[in-house]
């Protein structure tokens, strides 16, 4: 009886350790993805790190209940996206839209503000604005396709939608972005 109890306790401890190890592997594998997803919404490093941390903490608490662990990344991405949107809304309630001067400080205050850097920042700002103006579904597809070189298959796995849907959303998103950013092509040709 005592031996049986010891064996049971031992197996529980082993299971916990395995779970911890598995989560650690997921953390190392997906932390950057979570950060970038959050950053694509918030465009502020500190906020994005905060949200990524919160998302991981939440994931940790529910990791045991996650039946299909292969879906962890998809789960994490969606959770991070939602949380980042919530944070963005609360940030907007707290303050008015951040002006260009503020953006410069956020994007890289340690770099020298040469003319080229200023132009690059301005282009990035326009790109972000164009991405932000996209409908949410298209926006998420564009972001995920632009992160870590994800292909259609990977994006469809992350969003758990068919590849065809990803393809059409990506097409629509790119079309709208091109329309909004056409002036950038002209300036880059100059």
């Amino acid at each position: 009886m005592h031996e049986h109890a010891e064996r049971l306790t031992g197996s529980l401890v082993t299971a916990d350790l395995e779970l911890e190890r598995e989560f650690e592997a997921r953390l190392a594998d997906s932390s950057r993805l979570a950060f970038r997803v959050a950053f694509s919404v918030l465009r502020q490093r500190e906020d994005a790190e905060d949200i990524a941390q919160e998302a991981f903490a939440k994931a940790y608490r529910s990791f045991r209940q996650l039946r299909d662990r292969t879906r962890f990344r998809a789960w994490l991405v969606r959770m991070t996206w939602r949380m980042a949107l919530d944070r963005q809304r609360s940030n907007r309630r707290r303050s008015t839209h951040i002006v260009a001067a503020g953006i410069q400080a956020r994007l890289g205050r340690y770099e020298e503000a040469t003319a080229d850097v200023v132009v690059a920042r301005e282009r990035a700002e326009h790109l972000w604005n164009a991405i932000e103006a996209l409908p949410e579904k298209l926006r998420l597809v564009v972001v995920l396709a632009g992160i870590e070189g994800h292909d259609m298959h990977e994006v469809s796995a992350l969003l758990e939608v068919p590849e065809g849907t990803v393809k059409s959303r990506l097409f629509l998103a790119r079309k709208q972005l091109k329309e909004r950013l056409s002036w950038m092509a002209a300036t880059s040709r100059e």
């Binding site: 490093r45 941390q53 903490a57 632009g146 091109k178 002036w183 092509a185 002209a186």
Partner: protein
């Protein structure tokens, strides 16, 4: 927007721009902070479970204690029990088989002992005293507390008061009547002085 502008922005260029915009890495402290946060969560979760266990155990102990205390305190004590707590005396002709089992300690008894052999009276016991003497009552049967004639007298008195034949205001004040006797003043013994005897003549 015109078509020439749309053609101008190629997919490749757009992807490059997007990848460049999204290619931001977290700070070097991000991963250690994240690990610390998870470790903190782990500790916190453990503490929470432990504290709930402790709180539950403490609550259980408190509930049991409270229950026992209430059970002890809510046991009804009727006025009759305050007067007589003695078990019924066994009938002289009762079968011998019943003698082995002890009589119930707090069995309700009539005020009057019907047995003719009730020889004497006893002062009514107070409630706490009655509770305290419960184990003793099991061990040794108590005596009858009020004699027959005294009980009859009391009944007559109560019925007379109830019928308003006796004006209660004329009755002596119980508080005064039951007032303990005034303490006896200390006896002061005067010091005895013994005068030396005078020498008598002839000695």
């Amino acid at each position: 927007m015109d078509g020439s502008n749309q053609q101008g922005m190629s997919d490749e260029l757009l992807e490059k721009e997007i990848e460049a915009a999204l290619g931001v890495d977290p700070s070097p402290e991000f991963l250690p902070r994240l690990r610390a946060r998870i470790a903190d969560d782990r500790t916190h979760a453990g503490w929470t479970i432990g504290s709930w266990r402790w709180a539950g155990a403490a609550l259980g102990v408190v509930a049991v204690t409270l229950g026992l205390w209430l059970m002890r305190d809510t046991a009804p004590v009727s006025p009759e029990q305050t007067i007589a707590t003695a078990p019924r005396r066994a009938e002289p002709g009762a079968p011998a088989a019943n003698q082995g089992t002890p009589p119930p300690a707090f069995e309700r008894l009539p005020l009057i002992d019907t047995a003719a052999s009730a020889p004497r009276q006893r002062v009514v016991e107070s409630v706490p005293r009655a509770r305290q003497s419960a184990p003793d009552a099991v061990a040794a049967p108590l005596e009858v507390l009020i004699s027959q004639d005294e009980a009859a007298g009391l009944q007559r008195l109560f019925s007379a008061i109830g019928d308003r034949r006796i004006e209660t205001s004329t009755l002596p004040d119980l508080a005064t009547a039951l007032k303990p006797p005034e303490p006896i003043a200390d006896i002061v013994v005067e010091p005895i002085t013994i005068n030396p005897l005078a020498a008598t003549e002839g000695e």
